[in-house]
């Protein structure tokens, strides 16, 4: 039993970086950190991942970009972003003022583009790079790299060479051999893993009798995917020793606890913030309360993985 007078310590370490709590805003759902100001106290978050960044500016996809399904959200944004130089100049300074750890989510269509993006980001004040090899929404937008261990290793290795920042690799649930990709990323130098990105999904417009999205398929997120994401986080945590950041449909403290039980070191929250902007704050408070009630001094005690 643990001392019950100690204030619960929610801080977690990932690749040498201390997060004051394990709740991180997921890439693509929290802009560059300012957008939710006024609705919630952004400074309380453990970390914020930027929208997926590419070396050059991208306009994103045409046509419909969002579609709601049962407890799920399909998106086909297509990595719209101002490009890394513009991000560094226009968005990053304010983002670094916010307080939460800043994680740059990096995408690319070629190894060189990833590498050059990582080089630029490495020279800034960001705390970590999250290498997105799992975006399902652009033709050459990373997911191709995330689907097979060898390709994943290539891009991780290339980025690792030019990147002084802690490197987290974000995995795709669409990879046929997810654990294989995970291990390949670690061998290639990843300090941490995050998963899952969105699931490849499809929806049709009944009226127009066409796919809803111009690119036909789109990425599914939200509570619908939680049981699938949790299973994948469990599988990956069982296979690796590096910290794993779990996500996929987390919307409540109970959901969050399940991911810590699966072995995650921290969690990210995306779609649930859309449903209820206070979700991340509610979870931070909920975890704190749970640790007090259950007399848990660190969330890692919850893990059901047999890890040394």
């Amino acid at each position: 039993m643990h001392n019950n007078n100690i204030q619960p310590d929610l801080s977690v370490q990932i690749a040498g970086i201390t997060f004051k709590n394990p709740v991180i805003a997921a890439s693509g759902t929290f802009g560059y950190g300012q957008e939710y100001a006024g609705l919630i106290d952004v400074s309380r978050l453990g970390g914020i991942c930027t929208k997926g960044l590419t070396l050059h500016p991208r306009e994103g996809n045409r046509g419909r970009r969002l579609h709601e399904t049962a407890s799920g959200l399909m998106n086909s944004i297509g990595l719209e972003n101002p490009g890394i130089p513009a991000f560094i100049e226009q968005e990053l300074p304010a983002m670094l003022e916010l307080g939460p750890r800043v994680i740059a989510n990096l995408s690319g269509s070629t190894v060189e583009e990833y590498q050059e993006g990582a080089r630029l980001l490495s020279a800034t004040g960001i705390d970590m790079i999250e290498l997105n090899i799992s975006c399902p929404n652009v033709k050459a937008g990373g997911m191709a790299f995330g689907l097979c261990p060898a390709d994943a290793a290539t891009v991780v290795q290339a980025v690792r060479r030019v990147c002084d920042k802690p490197l987290m690799v974000k995995l795709s649930p669409n990879a046929p051999d997810l654990v294989g990709v995970a291990l390949a990323c670690i061998n290639a130098g990843a300090d941490a893993l995050s998963l899952v990105n969105t699931f490849k999904a499809l929806a049709f417009d009944i009226r127009r009798r066409t796919p809803i999205f111009d690119h036909v398929t789109a990425g599914l997120s939200g509570p619908a995917i939680k049981p699938l994401a949790l299973r994948m986080v469990w599988d990956v945590c069982a296979a690796v020793q590096v910290p794993v950041v779990g996500m996929g449909g987390i919307a409540s403290t109970e959901d969050a606890l399940e991911f810590f039980m699966a072995g995650a070191t921290a969690i990210q929250i995306g779609t649930a913030t859309f449903s209820r902007p206070s979700t991340m704050i509610d979870i931070i408070e909920g975890l704190e309360q749970y640790m007090e009630t259950e007399r848990i001094s660190h969330l890692s005690e919850l893990s059901l993985q047999d890890r040394e």
Binding site: Y32, E35, A37, G38, L39, R65, L66, G72, I77, T271
Partner: protein
């Protein structure tokens, strides 16, 4: 997206209570339209702005963007039309229920340009809502309201008949046909329009380079500029409907892009 670093402390996310939700229109087959009043202790909304609304017990994932119809003494009102599952939930919600609101969000109707002539408010169906709120801020007699409906009109009872032009697709009131068939921007100092996209497109066409502002509808997830899901293509590039809009100068919108 340079403006995404602007501070928005003039808004809040609050759990509120539905004070009233009364049907104002029920044409069979067209769905219900209600006027909902919600207690709101946050910042005062301006005409043209909207809230994201989600019942605490909601069966849908995302909040729904709904324009402000009016505001008085800590009560914000909305006019809500039943379309799919999300709006059905809202129109059938009852007084006393808990509802979560984010807002006020989005930009506001711009101040009318200096000049002569009245202002035209052009609303299609439920699109009249943000124009009604705007009209409260305009001097009486300074505007003319065009309202287009599928069948029977609703929501415009408060306006003197001489300031109203109505149209209905089935001829049950006013002109038989659509508002753009009868609307002529000539003589108006400015045009403010909200309604279905095909209507707005035609209004934008007839207005050409004359001052015309339109409030656009796009599917939204966040409502605050974070998800990039509500893109509007404009002559100045991609804009987010939720924070760069929902109101845009009509001439800037690329409808077929």
């Amino acid at each position: 997206m340079a403006d995404s670093s602007t501070c928005h402390h003039d808004r809040a996310f609050l759990s509120c209570t539905i004070v009233a939700n009364a049907p104002i229109h029920t044409v069979p087959g067209e769905g219900l339209v209600t006027e909902m009043q919600v207690s709101w202790e946050g910042p005062v909304p301006q005409p043209g702005q909207f809230f994201m609304l989600r019942l605490e017990r909601s069966g849908v994932l995302l909040g729904r963007p709904i324009s402000v119809l009016g505001y008085r003494n800590g009560l914000v009102s909305f006019m809500i039309a039943e379309r799919g599952k999300g709006s059905r939930e809202l129109v059938t919600a009852r007084a006393g229920e808990a509802i979560e609101l984010s807002g006020p969000l989005g930009n506001t109707w711009p101040v009318p340009p200096l000049g002569d002539g009245p202002i035209a408010l052009v609303g299609g169906g439920i699109g009249i809502a943000p124009l009604i709120y705007l009209s409260e801020r305009l001097p009486p007699g300074s505007f003319h309201f065009y309202g287009g409906f599928r069948s029977k009109p609703y929501g415009l009872e408060g306006f003197p008949p001489e300031s109203l032009t109505l149209a209905s697709e089935d001829g049950s009131v006013g002109y038989r046909g659509r508002i753009p068939d009868v609307f002529n921007p000539a003589g108006f100092r400015a045009v403010y329009a909200c309604g279905p996209t095909p209507m707005l497109k035609r209004i934008a066409e007839v207005c050409g380079q004359a001052p015309c502002y339109i409030s656009l509808e796009e599917r939204m997830a966040c409502g605050v500029g974070a998800c990039l899901g509500c893109t509007v293509r404009t002559t100045r590039g991609n804009r987010r409907c939720c924070v760069d809009g929902p109101i845009f100068p009509a001439a800037e919108v690329l409808f077929d892009a």
